[in-house]
Amino acid sequence: MNLNLSEDIIKGLETLADEKLINDQVFNHILDSSFKVAVKNNLDSSVILESAVTKDVDAIALKQTFSSLLSFILETMKINSDLNSISGILDDHKFSESRIENILNYFKEHRVAIRKVLSITNFHFPHIIDVNWRLDYFMKSNSVEKLNTPVYLINLTTEQEEGVQPGKVEFACTLDQLQDLVYKLRDAQKQIERSAIKS
């Protein structure tokens, strides 16, 4: 799959490669901050724009290089480019060898973490992450006596998005209903093993 970078991003990358405009200290700062943002360690842009290290650099150039590098990181990680092709692209855009090596080290270290962040940057249905159950023996109520039947209360914990309060799905089952439910879930669970064997 081909990397899809706009002209603006390419221009930003070339600015970043220019050692006269961006000295090594600033470069390292931008590089470090970009990867921190990519793995969602730090989402505060003031760190990069208002740092003492970058105060002598033109603000527009700084924003441009920062956003270009971040786009570059996310796009390459989206298609899971290998280090060779990343280094090839950087080389095409006039990065020095030491800078390329520096960038590749960051990719080596953060590849898995970034792809994990990308995989959960999405919408989904409430995701079941845990279950709680309770077994009651239902004896009588205000309107009926001698019911004497077991009732299960099932409580599913669901997660909608990372960091959001987990949701709850509650329902009751008789013994027969629970047996039916477990049978169907087991069947579903076995299905993935069957598919794995076939392929």
Binding site: S119, I128, A188
Partner: protein
């Protein structure tokens, strides 16, 4: 145990003594309708014209029969207890038998109606599932992520509509879910729980 009928109900039920069996059966049928669906004034007026009594009288007789049936169903009275409960009305044997048969035949239905009056939870009704493998999304391509989509159908009470919920989970969590619910099923068969259930009367 026997059911205590109060004086007004007794007076209404005594009315049945003077009626032929078919009429009594008709009353039982209307009483069952009353329990299931509430009162129906039209039926009372039709019956009152046929039997030459006031609609109010018909209504109170129906109420009395309904009361008798629901209370007996509520406590699951057996045949003998039912007979004892209405013995003070001094019915003919045939009439007692006809009422009792009606009661026993419809006890289950009446109990089902009564059950709707207690606080209900959503009850499990059905589960549909499908297995998807997510292979890409906007921010990530070249990935393999198995996802189970589950459609959980629940129902609140006997007559209400099904409620649908779409949930999802992954293979690991599904396995955990299965294991937990299976242990819940095993719990009911444990020795301690069987003793408890046997001893609750």
């Amino acid at each position: 145990m026997i059911i205590d009928l109060d004086i007004s109900h007794k007076q209404d039920l005594v009315f049945l003594r003077s009626q032929p069996l078919e009429v009594v059966n008709e009353f039982c049928k209307i009483a069952l309708e009353f329990i299931k669906k509430g009162s129906n004034k039209k039926l009372y007026i039709a019956a009152s014209q046929k039997l030459q009594v006031s609609p109010d009288k018909i209504e109170s007789v129906i109420n009395a029969i309904s009361y008798l049936f629901t209370e007996c169903s509520r406590f699951m009275l057996n045949e003998n207890d039912f007979n004892d409960s209405i013995s003070s009305l001094k019915y003919e044997d045939e009439l007692t038998e006809s009422l009792r048969n009606y009661y026993l035949e419809y006890r289950k239905d009446i109990r089902n109606v009564l059950q709707e009056f207690y606080p209900q939870f959503d009850h499990y009704s059905n589960l549909e599932w499908r297995l998807d493998v997510q292979i890409a999304n906007r921010s990530l391509s070249d990935t393999v992520n198995p996802i189970y989509l589950l459609k959980l159908l629940t129902k609140n009470g006997g007559s209400s509509a099904l409620k649908e919920q779409i949930l999802q989970t992954d293979p690991n969590n599904l396995k955990h879910l299965c294991n937990e619910l299976e242990s819940a099923l095993l719990e009911i068969r444990s020795y301690e729980n069987r003793i408890i259930m046997r001893n609750i009367k």
